[in-house]
């Protein structure tokens, strides 16, 4: 009797699982415009909530509003070069998706909306945290120090002159270390702003390089909000 009960329960759960898989596949088959390759969508945690990042499925969808504008006054809103500096890699949307699924999910990376808060409040890329370029470009301020700590940098405190000299001579490990900061365990970060015409994230990147943040841990998503929206990708309004 007990065995029969067990079997019934097992069959019931198996059927439920099959149903769940079938439902998932049915949803996936409805996705006509996938993210990339065979990936229909991805889930990203934003402010503690799971957000499905996908593209608009309506083939007639056209971008409207502010991000559909093709021109803004230059200066100050001039087209930015493809690379901020040669040591920092510029990436596109597919790399951002991959980052969201790996580094961001595993808490080994951060997606930084480097725009001022008034931009961030109007909508952001899921999974992003807002650390404005104004904070990142001011070396030595409490806000800058706090941001670097969020990125995984550790203040070194008092470092002896001898240690510094040995590091300088290459006799002690000095990789990813400055006089003030130890960036050995710093996270990989993607910085982005409004798009190719936006200078906010390039300024933030330059600020980070100035304090010694390792260039190989910084990535520049040049497309920013404009290209994110152009591809009809999911955005979120913070706090909603």
């Amino acid at each position: 009797m007990k065995r029969l009960y067990c079997q019934i329960v097992t069959v019931f759960f198996t059927m439920l699982s099959i149903q769940a898989i079938a439902d998932e596949q049915a949803v996936d088959s409805k996705i006509a415009v996938g993210l990339s390759g065979e990936k229909p969508y991805i889930h990203v945690i934003h402010e503690g909530r799971s957000v499905k990042v996908q593209r608009v499925q309506d083939p007639d969808y056209e971008l409207k509003g502010y991000y559909a504008k093709t021109a803004r006054k230059c200066p100050p809103f001039c087209l930015q070069p493809m690379q901020v500096v040669s040591s920092v890699a510029t990436i596109g949307e597919v790399e951002v998706f991959e980052f969201m699924e790996t580094k961001l999910r595993d808490n080994k990376g951060l997606l930084i909306d480097a725009r001022t808060s008034e931009w961030y409040e109007r909508g952001t890329i899921p999974g992003s945290i807002n650390i404005p370029f104004t904070t990142l470009s001011k070396d030595g301020t409490a806000e800058n120090d706090a941001a670097l700590a969020i990125f995984g940098g550790k203040p070194r405190g008092e470092v002896g002159a001898l240690s510094l000299k040995l590091e300088e001579m290459g006799l002690m490990d000095s990789d990813d270390k400055t006089e003030k900061w130890d960036f050995s365990n710093a996270k990989e970060i993607i910085l982005w702003c409004n798009g190719p015409e936006c200078g906010q994230s390039p300024r933030a990147i330059k600020g980070l390089l100035k304090v010694g943040y390792p260039a190989n841990k910084i990535f520049y998503y040049r497309g920013g909000m404009q290209l994110w929206q152009l591809w009809g990708l999911t955005t979120v309004v913070p706090g909603e």
């Binding site: 957000v51 990708l233 309004v237």
Partner: protein
């Protein structure tokens, strides 16, 4: 003694002048730095005011889109109102493609009556 005192006063005067000059140059440099950043900050601030709030699409069937504008009724408010007052019409409205919904909302913003809107929704749904 008097010559020495005069000389000392002169020296002090020169040093003071020098210090004031340095201070002035420093102030000017700081001013330049501030002036360099402030116009950019004010430009991005005024530009931000032009941006519509990007509505969230959380686990929905469709991706992101610009949903509301700073002035006038928002698309969200319009949909809420339609849902509350004309549930049947709203059901058909939700089945329309996004573009058609945006067009209907634009007409609503443009001053079309709710009866005209309801008729338009049904026309769009049936045709």
């Amino acid at each position: 003694m008097a010559t020495q005192t005069i000389c000392f006063i002169r020296m002090s005067g020169i040093r003071l002048k020098h210090q004031i000059s340095v201070l002035l140059v420093m102030c000017f440099a700081v001013q330049l730095v501030v002036a360099d950043e402030d116009p950019y900050l004010s430009a991005i601030s005024s530009e931000a005011a032009k941006v519509e709030t990007t509505a969230p699409v959380l686990d929905g069937d469709e991706g992101s889109a610009i949903e509301s504008t700073a002035d006038g009724p928002s698309m969200h408010a319009f949909e809420g109102d339609l849902k509350a007052r004309y549930m049947g019409t709203f059901t058909f409205y939700k089945r329309l493609p996004r573009r058609a919904r945006e067009e209907i909302f634009e007409e609503y913003k443009g001053g079309a009556s709710i009866d005209e809107i309801r008729k338009k929704i049904m026309d769009r749904f049936l045709n």
